[in-house]
């Protein structure tokens, strides 16, 4: 409901809402449609509700995007609320750079479940942070960047290929391949504005964290493999980034080599000193003077007690 309220409150009303009720029973779909009708007609008339079954979040997105008629398509999962200028920002950036993928920034906040009377609700438990990269880097996005899809608006033409736009087998980052291909094909325009807030349950246990990491790893392998198979035309600026990464990598390797050499030298010095120490301990002069050192220790101990 929060997500819908945040859409109803947008400063720019030039958008339609395709509300995908995913894996929801027919009675609940009716309830959702009823909640939509509760809004003022100015908003509710722009909302289309569809029931979608199976296939992970990607299937809901695929069905929704196939129904879209606007110039751009953007997606809010139900754990996201839009700031009042989410649509306005996409629209403004697209008017300055028509046809490009638009990227805005996403903030993050943790929440915990709580009961609102007798039904499930939540409460925010952290301040708002901006953990995702400030600007888009194709390679970082491919390998590391886990920015949510609510920060992107894609030209609808990006969805016009054959087959579903998103990989329905993936559980996380299912939009990555589509976004990478769209950026390569169309370029990207960034607004820099924080326009949405992604909320994550804060009480994930170790098993959930491990499972999430595993799912991200599957996504990365799958996307890399698929881009490898089909090839990827590099967009302007991409080679600069590769060059930068290559130089960083060479520099890092030189640093590692230097540190390893220092470490090896230090090890050799320790070994040399240990050998010298052993030699002294085994020397005949050290053994001959042994009783004198023992006597000296005894004198010191006796003096110590007398004080």
């Amino acid at each position: 409901m929060d997500t819908l309220v945040s859409l109803a409150a947008q400063s720019c009303p030039d958008f339609e809402v395709l509300l995908m009720a995913h894996d929801v029973g027919s009675r609940d779909v009716q309830a959702i449609e009823g909640r939509v009708r509760d809004f003022d007609p100015e908003f509710s008339s722009r909302v289309t509700c569809r029931s979608v079954a199976g296939g992970g979040r990607a299937r809901a997105f695929n069905v929704g995007s196939s129904l879209a008629v606007g110039d751009y398509v953007a997606c809010l999962d139900d754990n996201v609320v839009a700031f009042g200028h989410w649509v306005e920002t996409f629209r403004s950036a697209a008017s300055h750079a028509p046809g490009r993928v638009i990227r805005a920034r996403v903030a993050s906040q943790t929440i915990d479940p709580m009961l609102w009377d007798d039904h499930p609700g939540y409460v925010a438990t952290s301040g708002i942070s901006t953990p995702f990269p400030k600007s888009f880097d194709l390679w970082q996005y491919l390998f590391e960047d886990q920015s949510p899809k609510c920060g992107f608006a894609l030209p609808r033409t990006c969805f016009e290929g054959s087959g579903p736009a998103l990989d329905e087998s993936l559980r996380r980052g299912e939009e990555k391949e589509l976004i990478i291909r769209s950026v390569v094909l169309n370029g990207i325009a960034e607004s820099g504005e924080v326009t949405s807030l992604s909320r994550a349950w804060g009480a994930a246990d170790e098993a959930q964290v491990e499972e999430a990491a595993r799912q991200w790893d599957v996504t990365r392998s799958t996307v890399v493999s698929r881009l490898n198979q089909t090839g990827l035309q590099l967009p302007p600026g991409a080679l600069d980034a590769v060059d930068r990464y290559e130089r960083d990598l060479v520099g890092a390797r030189v640093t590692v080599t230097r540190i390893e050499a220092q470490r090896d030298a230090a090890r050799r010095e320790v070994e040399r000193l240990e050998r010298e120490f052993d030699a002294v301990m085994r020397s005949s002069s050290w053994r001959v003077t042994g009783p004198m050192r023992t006597a000296g220790h005894l004198v010191h101990r006796v003096r110590g007690r007398s004080r």
Binding site: M1, D2, F83, R105, G121, I128
Partner: protein, 316 residues
């Protein structure tokens, strides 16, 4: 939170049968009033569906230098809003900036509703907001209910069992009219822009009412962040919030905090902070500060520069 105030009798009649929705404009952004009214219309319709006998009215005051709404627009709105279930709609341009407290007091004089729903015009109510805010009023002790704000949830602490909290933000809050009459409405003499709602809440609690945060009632309050994820206040907000902090400390019998905060604002603050201290001292010299309340700190809670324990820092 201190809850030692005297509880109210539970024998009085409690659930309001009429609600006056009040909002005060001040140079609104284009389109803002339309969006606000869309939220109002939906919330009214849902409330009337749940309680057909509930009477709802809408009063908009305008502190802008020139009226935001022309007479044709007002006539059109009156027709469309009354069609959607409102009993009446009035628009009152004040012609000057009376501050939020002053504007709301002016609207209160014209209202005879059982309860007043105060809503910021830069907000959008969820359709069930009125219903959710009204439900706790079955309890006679409840004097004010406050909606949860989106997208930036207020960090102040509340009791997860019954929502009891230190104070209610009038970004969207439902208040018994009897309570407002009893405590004399907002203290517009003291507070121009900020803390008028904290002060109202604390006086309500001193009068024996409970203030309740109602997370199931939600209102979208159009706040935005900078690129670092931080809510950046305008210079006017910086000035008035600093001034209000000093006034709150004075009014709630904490001269130690007045002294401490004045020193901090003068030494480490910016121009607005220093101006706020100077204005406070001018009022002190003019003997125009309010009479201090709550000497035993039954309701007043000062934690850093906040008026409640917070669950988290706003910045992360």
């Amino acid at each position: 939170m201190n809850t030692e105030q005297t509880p109210r009798s539970s024998s009085r009649s409690h659930v309001p049968s009429s609600i006056g929705i009040h909002s005060v404009l001040y140079h609104p952004e284009p389109g803002q009033v339309d969006r606000f009214l869309q939220g109002v219309r939906a919330a009214v319709a849902v409330a009337r569906r749940c309680w057909p006998d509930l009477s709802l009215t809408l009063q908009i005051g305008d502190c802008s230098s020139d009226p935001t709404l022309g007479s044709d627009a007002v006539d059109g709105l009156r027709k469309s809003l009354t069609c959607s279930g409102l009993s009446s709609f009035t628009y009152q341009p004040f012609g000057r900036n009376m501050g939020s407290a002053g504007g709301h007091n002016a609207l209160l004089k014209e209202s005879d509703a059982d309860a007043i729903l105060i809503v910021n015009p830069d907000s959008y109510m969820s359709p069930d907001t009125v219903v959710e805010l009204l439900s706790p009023f079955a309890d006679a002790e409840v004097g004010i209910t406050e909606a949860r704000q989106l997208p930036i949830e207020h960090p102040k602490q509340f009791d997860v069992r019954d929502g009891t909290t230190s104070w209610a933000s009038t970004a969207c809050a439902l208040i018994r009219h009897d309570l407002l009459r009893e405590i004399g409405g907002f203290d517009a003499e003291t507070f121009f822009l900020y803390c008028d709602d904290v002060d109202l809440s604390w006086r309500a609690r001193l009068a024996g009412y409970r203030v309740v945060h109602r997370p199931s009632a939600c209102v979208f309050h159009d706040k935005r962040l900078n690129g670092e994820g931080i809510l950046l206040p305008s210079s006017a907000e910086v000035y008035y919030s600093a001034e209000a902090a000093l006034l709150m400390a004075w009014k709630y019998s904490r001269p130690d905090l007045v002294e401490k905060w004045s020193g901090e604002l003068l030494e480490g603050g910016n121009t607005e902070h220093r101006r706020a201290v100077e204005e406070f001292r001018r009022r002190q010299a003019d003997l125009s500060l309010p009479e201090p309340l709550d000497p035993e700190a039954k309701v007043a809670t000062f934690v850093d520069y906040n008026y409640a324990q917070h669950r988290f820092g706003v910045g992360g």
